[in-house]
Structures are given as structure tokens and as C-alpha cells.
């Protein structure tokens, strides 16, 4: 499985799908995050592999 982590919330997705599909499946807007794998930035077309841990870093800040 692939694990997505956004602000301590974890989402499991199947390997083999793109990052964009994984985000859509979990109703996460790509505009609001940057995804990293092993501290490297990855983009929407990245194919997620079994065992991947993807950190989703929220972009929105302010008040």
C-alpha cells in the first residue's frame, strides 16, 4: 500500500496510481498541497509505488 500523510491524517491508497488520482480519491485539492517522497518534491503524474510514504505539506496559511 501507499500512505499519504496530511497534517497527521493518514490515507491509504493502492500502488500503481498517479499522485493526482490518489489525491482525487481522497478529496484533496492538489492546489492546496506540495507532495514529497523521501524529502523530494513530486508532481501529479508521479506513479506511486508500494511502500511509498507521501508527505502532503499544506500550502494554505494566514488568518
Amino acid at each position: 500500500m501507499v500512505k499519504l500523510i496530511l497534517r497527521k491524517q493518514e490515507y491509504d491508497v493502492r500502488p500503481g496510481m498517479t499522485l493526482l488520482d490518489a489525491l482525487k480519491k481522497n478529496n484533496i485539492l492538489p492546489e492546496g498541497i506540495i507532495a514529497t517522497r523521501c524529502d523530494e518534491l513530486i508532481e501529479e503524474d508521479e506513479i506511486l509505488k508500494d511502500g511509498d510514504i507521501i508527505n502532503l505539506i499544506a500550502a494554505i496559511s494566514g488568518g
Partner: protein
């Protein structure tokens, strides 16, 4: 996805520009775009002294980094607001701002609200009830006052903030929903100096928030990730989320919304209102501009807290 310039694997894809770039070229692109905005809007020149308001967040630290890389004379100002709320928000923000300044050999001026005025932002809010439950309006008033004072008293030509395109689009969206004409007139990358008020500029106002985050990450800038505890559930964050939904379906919508607004105003959309100039007076205590004779809103508020400390700090 490949970098458009070198063909290597792309790190950042900017759908609004139909442009994907690798780390190396992205880290060149962001300063180049910032420089372009500085020139396009006439924000400041290389021989002018710039004061960057630094919060410890990704946008202001990245802006400081970009301006230094572009060769500007740039110092930082950190205002310690005394916000704790169980996560030591201000303490951690200050630590990160100071760490960045130290590592990059930059000058950072720190103003501690509690030390200077005897009360933190949450305490002032509770005592004056100005912010009711949330202290955001008090915080904004205090920060504007101090930023202007430090810029004025230390001979800075211009005060720069790290407002990104999402910040600007969210404010514009809110002001448009309520047709707040006076605010719409003033919003933009450049607020020229006027009686007692420093010039204020937003050099990264055309760069998406997501792209500022990518810049901070790729440059290895350590910033405070936690939100200000008082901003959770704020209207501006709600507007940003709404605009991101729009952007998801129509890439470039946020950029177009903001730039079209600037163009429309330049073209005279608000020309009738622009002729109305509010008469400004000088505050009898701190000498900063105020719309009514007597004390400015900052001094009125602080007088309710501690009449003596304001006088001492404003000397």
C-alpha cells in the same frame, strides 16, 4: 513531467503558466519573477533600504531570501506577538526568524509587544474587547503601527511583506463580495508613502502560495508550519479554499482574477472614487497618521491598557 528548460525531471508544475521546472531552474525562476514584479510595479530600487516584515512563516522568510539573492539591501523585522495557545507559536516563530537571519548573515530587528507595551496580543484583546473573541483585528492594528514606526524611525525607504497571490486573491474576493470600495482602491502591490506612512510593497503578490511553499522547501528554509492558532476557521482561509476549488477546474483563475482587477483599476474602473481623499491628521501622541484629529486608533487602544508605556515607546 519534464523541466521545460533542461528536460530533467520536474519538481514543480505551474498549471497557470503551463510551465514545469526542475529544482535548479525553479529556484532561478522565482527570483526572476519577483524582480519582474519589482520593476513592473516600481516597488523599489537597489539603492533603497528595504525592511521585510518577517513572521517566521514560509512566505516572509522566502521573500527575505529572494530579495537577498537579488542583491537588495534588506533587513528583517520580527514582531513578537506573545501568542502561545499551548504550542508556543510566537516563541517558535521568533526562533526560526532568528535562525534564518543568523545563517544568512542578515540583520533582524525584534520588537516584543509584551516587553514594550506590557501586554501580549491576546491580553490586549481581552482587556479592550476590540477583537471580541479573536485577536486578529488587534493584531493587525498593532503590527501595522509597529511596522510603520520601525520603518520611519530607522530610515527605511520601503516596507515589504510576503503576501502571495492567494493572500491577495482572498482579500480581493472578500472585498468584492462586500463591495468595499475604499479597500479595493488601496489593494495592490504598491501603497505609496504618504503623510507619516512608509511605502508598502508586496513583491511576491503574483506568485501562488503553493509555489512559495515549493520555493521554501527547495531552498531548505525552515519555517513555522503550524498555523497561527487564531487563524483556524478564519474567513480568509475559507476564501482561499474556495478559490483553490475554482483553480482546480480552471487553472489560472486566481491569477486572472487578481491581475484583471489591477488592470481594471488602472484603466479607471474606480476613478470616481479615487478622487475622494480622506483627510489625514497627525496623532497627537505618536505622530503617525490618523483619519480623525487627536489620538490614532493604536494609541487610543493602548491608552486603555497602559497610558505610560505608549508614551515611552513612541518617543
Amino acid at each position: 513531467m519534464k523541466c521545460r528548460i533542461c528536460g530533467e525531471k520536474a519538481s514543480v508544475n505551474m498549471r497557470e503558466h503551463k510551465l514545469a521546472l526542475c529544482k535548479e531552474h525553479y529556484l532561478e525562476w522565482v527570483p526572476a519573477q519577483t524582480e519582474r514584479s519589482i520593476k513592473k510595479y516600481g516597488l523599489f530600487k537597489h539603492d533603497e533600504k528595504v525592511l521585510v516584515a518577517v513572521s517566521g512563516g514560509k512566505d516572509s522568510l522566502s521573500l527575505w531570501d529572494i530579495l537577498k539573492r537579488l542583491g537588495y539591501q534588506v533587513d528583517g523585522l520580527y514582531i513578537c506577538l506573545g501568542i502561545d495557545e499551548g504550542i508556543k507559536y510566537s516563541v517558535e516563530s521568533q526562533r526560526l526568524a532568528e535562525k534564518f537571519a543568523f545563517e544568512h548573515d542578515l540583520k533582524l530587528q525584534v520588537v516584543d509587544i509584551q516587553k514594550e507595551y506590557g501586554e501580549s496580543i491576546p491580553q490586549i484583546t481581552r482587556e479592550t474587547h476590540r477583537g471580541r473573541i479573536k485577536p486578529c483585528s488587534v493584531c493587525g492594528l498593532v503590527k501595522r503601527h509597529i511596522m510603520n514606526r520601525i520603518a520611519r524611525d530607522n530610515g527605511y525607504d520601503v516596507l515589504a511583506t510576503g503576501h502571495n497571490l492567494d493572500d491577495e486573491a482572498a482579500v480581493l474576493f472578500g472585498n468584492t463580495l462586500s463591495w468595499s470600495g475604499e479597500y479595493l482602491l488601496r489593494q495592490g502591490p504598491l501603497l505609496p508613502s504618504s503623510l507619516g506612512l512608509a511605502r508598502k510593497v508586496k513583491p511576491v503578490c503574483r506568485i501562488y502560495e503553493r509555489e512559495m511553499l515549493a520555493y521554501a522547501l527547495l531552498r531548505g528554509i525552515e519555517y513555522i508550519y503550524e498555523e497561527c492558532p487564531f487563524s483556524i476557521g478564519s474567513t480568509s482561509i475559507y476564501y482561499k479554499e474556495l478559490l483553490n476549488r475554482l483553480e482546480n477546474n480552471r487553472p489560472g483563475a486566481k491569477l486572472s482574477f487578481y491581475l484583471s482587477f489591477l488592470e481594471a483599476r488602472k484603466g479607471g474602473l474606480f476613478s470616481e472614487r479615487e478622487k475622494i481623499q480622506a483627510e489625514l491628521h497627525s496623532c497627537s501622541r505618536c505622530a503617525q497618521p490618523t483619519s480623525a484629529p487627536g489620538l490614532c486608533s493604536f494609541c487610543r487602544m493602548m491608552e486603555r491598557i497602559n497610558p505610560i508605556s505608549v508614551d515611552e515607546n513612541e518617543k
